[in-house]
C-alpha cells in the first residue's frame, strides 16, 4: 500500500428547494468563460444548466461533468415526491443523447472547471451569483491513498482481459503498431 496524501475535494451543493429558477448561474457561467472574460454571455454555453419545468415544480441545477462519447445502454428517469423528472435529468455528462453542455456552434463538450482562474475566485461564479443559496460551495480536505505508480494492478487487469479476448500475440502486434504510428 502507498503512502497517504492530502487532496482538496470541491463540491457545489445544490438545494433544489431553494432554486427560484432564475438561471443567473447560467448567465454568469457563460460570461465568465467567455474570452476575454465577461465579454459576452450566452446560457447555451453555460456549464451549469437549470433543468426546469415550472408547472411541474421541477428545478434542478446541474453542472457539467465528464463528456460521455456514447449514450448509456438505458436511460434513467426519476420520480421524487410524486414529481416525474425528465430523462437523464440529474446526469452531468455531455452526451450524444442530448444537446446540453455543448458549445452551440461547434458541438464540443463543456465541463465545469469550478471557475479555476488566476487570481483564484473565492467561489465558483454560479455560487457567488446564486444569492438565494440554492447553490453553495464546500471545500474539504480528504486523505487518500497515494496513487500506485503507473502500470499497477488496474493496468494488468485490463491487459489480462484484452489477452483473453484477442490473444497475447495480437495484442503485442497492436502495441508495436501503435508505437510506430505515434513516433512517425
Amino acid at each position: 500500500m502507498g503512502a497517504k496524501k492530502k487532496k482538496i475535494v470541491k463540491t457545489i451543493k445544490v438545494d433544489v428547494d431553494k432554486c427560484n429558477g432564475c438561471r443567473a448561474c447560467e448567465v454568469v457561467c457563460s460570461a465568465f468563460h467567455a474570452a476575454p472574460k465577461y465579454s459576452s454571455n450566452n446560457p447555451a454555453r453555460s456549464r451549469i444548466r437549470v433543468i426546469h419545468d415550472p408547472l411541474k415544480d421541477i428545478y434542478v441545477p446541474v453542472y457539467a461533468g465528464e463528456h460521455a462519447k456514447a449514450e448509456c445502454m438505458g436511460r434513467d428517469k426519476y420520480t421524487i415526491d410524486g414529481k416525474e423528472y425528465e430523462e437523464c435529468a440529474f446526469c452531468r455528462a455531455a452526451c450524444p443523447s442530448r444537446d446540453i453542455f455543448r458549445e452551440p456552434d461547434s458541438g464540443l463538450p463543456l465541463k465545469c472547471d469550478m471557475c479555476e482562474s488566476d487570481p483564484p475566485q473565492s467561489e465558483p461564479l454560479c455560487v457567488q451569483w446564486c444569492i438565494t443559496d440554492a447553490l453553495t460551495y464546500e471545500e474539504r480536505e480528504e486523505e487518500v491513498e497515494e496513487e500506485e505508480a503507473a502500470g499497477g494492478k488496474d493496468l494488468e487487469m485490463g491487459l489480462e482481459s484484452l489477452i483473453d479476448k484477442f490473444g497475447l500475440e495480437k495484442l503485442t502486434e497492436a502495441v508495436a503498431r501503435m508505437t510506430i504510428a505515434r513516433k512517425s
Binding site: 432564475c22 443567473a24 450566452n42 447555451a44 415550472p54 408547472l55 451569483w129
Partner: protein
C-alpha cells in the same frame, strides 16, 4: 460590432407572410436607447393617427430592452407596444419572465408585426430560422396550455412562448399576452395580437450577447447584487411590509392583507370594508395560500421571488405574481380561495387582472340597479361566485352580454346607456384603474394619475415615499442612506414633509416640488422600459439597486457609447415626449389628463389647475399638454414639430384648453 443589443429587428408582414431581418441604425440607440424608446420612434414614423387599433396598418412590437440578455440582474422585460383598442392611444405594456433575453440570444432586438394573417398562426423564431406556422389546432386553447403544446410539438422544451388565450383571439379589449409567470396585460394588446391572427410568438436562441467594457460591467452587476443582499437584510422601517423590500409587492409571500383589504375598494371599486381583516380570515387565507403555493419563483436572472406556482384543488397549476392575488377576490366580495381559482381560468383565457374583475363587478352592479335586466343576463347563476365564472366565460367568448362587456367598462357603458356611464367610474383615459377611493387630494398622485401615459399608477410611482413619516427622527434616518436621489433637494422635501399642519398635503410638497418629484419618478420608469429592467429592482421600490447614478455606467459599459446623467436624462425626455406626441397626434389633450372624478373626496380645483399648468411647463408642454416647438427642437424632435404643423396641431405659446373631446371623435 453592436454591444448589448443585436442590431437587428425582425419585420414580419402577416398579410403576405414575408419575414425580414433588418439592421437598425445605431444612432437611434444613442438617442432613444431601445425598448420603449425605439418602439415609440418606430410607431411615430409608421403608424399615422388615422390607423385604427384593429387595422392591418397597426403595428404590434415585441421589444427586448437594451440591456436584456446581458448579465445585468433583473433585466428581462419585454416591452410590447401598439395602439390600444380600449384607450385608442399608445399601449406599452411590459412583461418579465424569460422571453426578451431569449429573443436577444436568437439575434434580434424586436419583433415587429404588421398586417393580418388570414389564418390563425404562430411564429417560431429559432436563431436564423423564422417560420410562420399554422395554429388552427391551437384555436381556443388557453395561453399556458398553448405554450406547453407548442414546446412539445416543436420538441423544444427551452423555447419561450408568449401566447394569447381565448380573450385575445376574440379581441377582448383587456386581453393580455401571457408568458408563463408574466403577462403584458394593460391596454388590450392581446386583442391586437388576436386581430393579427397570431396565437403565439415562440423563441429559442443560442447566440452570444456582447458587452463593450466587460470588466466594468460585471463589477457594476456585482455591486447591484451586493446591494440587493443588503436591502433584503435591511427592510425600510416605517412603511408597509410590501413597500419595505425590493421586487414587485411581495404578494405571493405575505399573508397579512389587512392593508389591501381595508384600504382598497371592493366590488366595482365601491365598498371600503374598514374592519374586514380579523384572525379567522387571516388564518383561512394563510391556509389557502400555504396549501396552494408550490414555490416562490423569479424571472430571468433575478434573485427576487415575486411570483409563485399555484395549484388549487380541481384547477390546473398556474403561475401568478403581485396584486392579481386579490383583484378577483375583492371584486366578487369573496375570499382568497375563490380569487386564486378564478385567476387560474382568467390566466388561461388571457385577461388583464385589473380590468377583468372590475368589468364583471360593474356588470353585476348594473344588474342590481336594473340597468341590465334578466333579458340581457339570461342564464346568470344565482350564486355570487358562479356569476363571476359565468361572466368571465361569456366575456372571453363575446357571447351575449359578454360581447358588450368585452370592450371594458367605458365602451360597454356607452353602448348599454340608461345611465350606465355613471357605473364606469374608475377609469382614466377609458382604462380601468386600481380600486382606490380616498379622502384628501394628494398633489403628487394627482399629477401621476393625470399625466402618466402608461395609465397605471404602479407604472409611474415609486421613488418618493407614498406618505410623510410622522417623526423627524424617522425622516432623518430614512434620508441618511438615500443615495438614489438625483439631487440633495429631494431629501429636504421629504424632511420637511409633515402629516399635518402647514407643511402637509395638499399644499406641501409645493407645486414646484411635486413637479420635480413626479418627473423623477416617471423618468426612472421610462429608463427601465427602454433598458428592459424590471421596475421591481428599479423604479418601483424605495431605495432600489438601480438608479440615476449607476444607470449611465451600465449603459456605457454595456452598449459602448458615452453616457452620463445629463445625456440619459435628455434621452429619456426625448422618447417620453415622443410618446406624448404620438398620443397628442391621436387626439389626446389636457381634458384627458385627469384622475377618476371620485378618486378623492376633497378636491382643490384651483390647486389642481396650478399643478397641471406648472407640470406641463416643467415638461415643455403648452397649456393643452402639447409639447412646444421649442422643447421639441431642443430634443432633436424637429420632425414632430413639422408633423404637428402639417396637421394644424398648435405647438406654439399658450393655448386655451379645449372643452371638446377630440380623442372620442374617432371612436368605432
Amino acid at each position: 460590432m453592436r454591444y448589448a443589443e443585436t442590431g437587428f429587428n425582425l419585420e414580419i408582414d402577416l398579410t403576405r407572410g414575408n419575414i425580414e431581418r433588418v439592421e437598425t441604425d445605431p444612432r437611434d440607440t444613442e438617442l432613444y436607447l431601445g425598448g420603449l424608446g425605439t418602439n415609440a420612434k418606430i410607431l411615430w414614423e409608421r403608424v399615422p393617427p388615422e390607423v385604427e387599433p384593429f387595422s392591418p396598418e397597426n403595428l404590434l412590437i415585441f421589444s427586448a430592452g437594451l440591456l436584456c440578455g446581458t448579465p445585468a440582474t433583473g433585466c428581462n422585460r419585454t416591452i410590447v407596444s401598439t395602439i390600444s383598442p380600449q384607450t385608442r392611444l399608445l399601449a406599452f405594456s411590459m412583461m418579465g419572465g424569460f422571453w426578451a433575453p431569449e429573443l436577444k440570444y436568437a439575434g434580434y432586438d424586436k419583433v415587429i408585426l404588421r398586417g393580418k394573417s388570414p389564418n390563425l398562426v404562430y411564429i417560431w423564431i429559432h436563431n436564423d430560422k423564422v417560420e410562420i406556422r399554422d395554429a388552427a389546432h391551437l384555436r381556443g386553447k388557453g395561453a399556458i396550455e398553448t405554450a406547453d403544446l407548442i414546446r412539445r410539438e416543436l420538441k423544444e422544451p427551452k423555447a419561450q412562448v408568449a401566447a394569447i388565450g381565448l380573450a385575445g383571439e376574440n379581441r377582448v379589449f383587456f386581453a393580455s399576452v401571457e408568458q408563463g409567470r408574466s403577462s403584458a396585460s394593460r391596454g388590450g394588446i392581446g386583442a391586437v395580437m388576436g386581430d393579427k391572427g397570431v396565437k403565439a410568438i415562440v423563441v429559442r436562441g443560442t447566440k452570444d450577447i456582447h458587452l463593450a467594457r466587460p470588466a466594468q460591467f460585471i463589477e457594476l452587476c456585482n455591486e447591484v447584487l451586493a446591494y440587493i443582499k443588503f436591502r433584503e437584510q435591511n427592510p425600510i422601517p416605517g412603511v408597509m411590509p410590501i413597500l419595505a423590500g425590493l421586487g414587485s409587492p411581495q404578494e405571493m409571500k405575505v399573508h397579512d392583507e389587512k392593508w389591501h383589504t381595508e384600504n382598497f375598494m371592493w366590488g366595482n371599486s365601491r365598498v371600503r370594508r374598514k374592519d374586514f381583516w380579523n384572525d379567522d380570515i387571516a388564518k383561512k387565507w394563510t391556509e389557502t395560500l400555504e396549501s396552494s403555493r408550490k414555490r416562490l419563483i423569479s424571472c430571468y436572472n433575478c434573485p427576487m421571488k415575486c411570483g409563485a406556482t399555484l395549484s388549487l384543488p380541481g384547477f390546473p397549476t398556474y403561475m401568478m405574481k403581485c396584486f392579481s392575488k386579490l383583484t378577483y377576490t375583492m371584486a366578487a366580495m369573496s375570499d382568497l380561495e375563490f380569487g386564486l381559482k378564478i385567476a387560474q381560468r382568467a390566466t388561461e383565457y388571457g385577461v388583464d387582472a385589473y380590468s377583468a374583475p372590475q368589468v364583471m363587478a360593474f356588470a353585476l352592479e348594473l344588474y342590481e340597479a336594473g340597468i341590465l335586466t334578466d333579458q340581457e343576463m339570461a342564464g346568470l347563476p344565482t350564486d355570487n361566485e358562479e356569476r363571476f365564472f359565468w361572466l368571465l366565460d361569456r366575456i372571453v367568448r363575446r357571447e351575449g352580454i359578454g360581447d358588450l362587456l368585452a370592450d371594458g367598462t367605458y365602451w360597454a357603458a356607452r353602448k348599454i346607456g340608461k345611465g350606465a356611464e355613471a357605473f364606469a367610474h374608475n377609469n382614466i383615459k377609458k382604462h380601468e384603474q386600481l380600486p382606490l377611493k380616498l379622502s384628501m387630494l394628494n398633489p403628487i398622485y394627482f399629477l401621476m394619475y393625470s399625466t402618466g401615459e402608461k395609465i397605471n399608477i404602479t407604472q409611474i410611482e415609486g421613488q418618493f415615499p407614498q406618505a410623510p413619516f410622522a417623526k423627524i427622527e424617522e425622516r432623518e434616518a430614512f434620508v441618511k442612506d438615500w443615495f438614489q436621489v438625483p439631487e440633495e433637494k429631494f431629501k429636504h422635501y421629504f424632511l420637511e414633509w409633515e402629516p399635518r399642519g402647514e407643511k402637509s398635503m395638499p399644499f406641501f410638497p409645493t407645486v414646484q416640488m411635486c413637479c420635480e418629484i413626479v418627473d423623477w419618478m416617471e423618468k426612472m420608469h421610462y429608463i427601465d422600459d427602454a433598458l428592459g429592467m424590471c421596475a421591481g429592482l428599479s423604479s418601483f421600490p424605495l431605495k432600489p439597486p438601480y438608479h440615476i447614478h449607476n444607470y449611465p455606467k451600465f449603459i456605457s459599459a454595456g452598449a459602448g457609447f458615452d453616457m452620463d446623467e445629463e445625456k440619459l436624462t435628455q434621452a429619456v425626455k426625448r422618447y417620453r415626449t415622443l410618446v406624448r406626441a404620438f398620443n397628442i397626434r391621436r387626439g389626446m389633450r389636457r381634458k384627458d389628463d385627469k384622475p377618476p372624478e371620485n378618486h378623492w373626496k376633497k378636491r382643490f380645483p384651483e390647486l389642481e389647475k396650478e399643478l397641471l399648468d406648472t407640470y406641463y411647463r416643467f415638461k415643455g408642454w403648452n397649456r393643452e399638454g402639447i409639447p412646444t416647438r421649442e422643447s421639441l427642437q431642443e430634443l432633436g424632435l424637429d420632425y414632430v414639430a413639422a408633423d404637428f404643423d402639417r396637421r394644424g396641431i398648435p405647438v406654439d405659446g399658450e393655448v386655451e384648453p379645449s372643452e371638446e373631446a377630440p380623442a372620442e371623435a374617432m371612436q368605432q
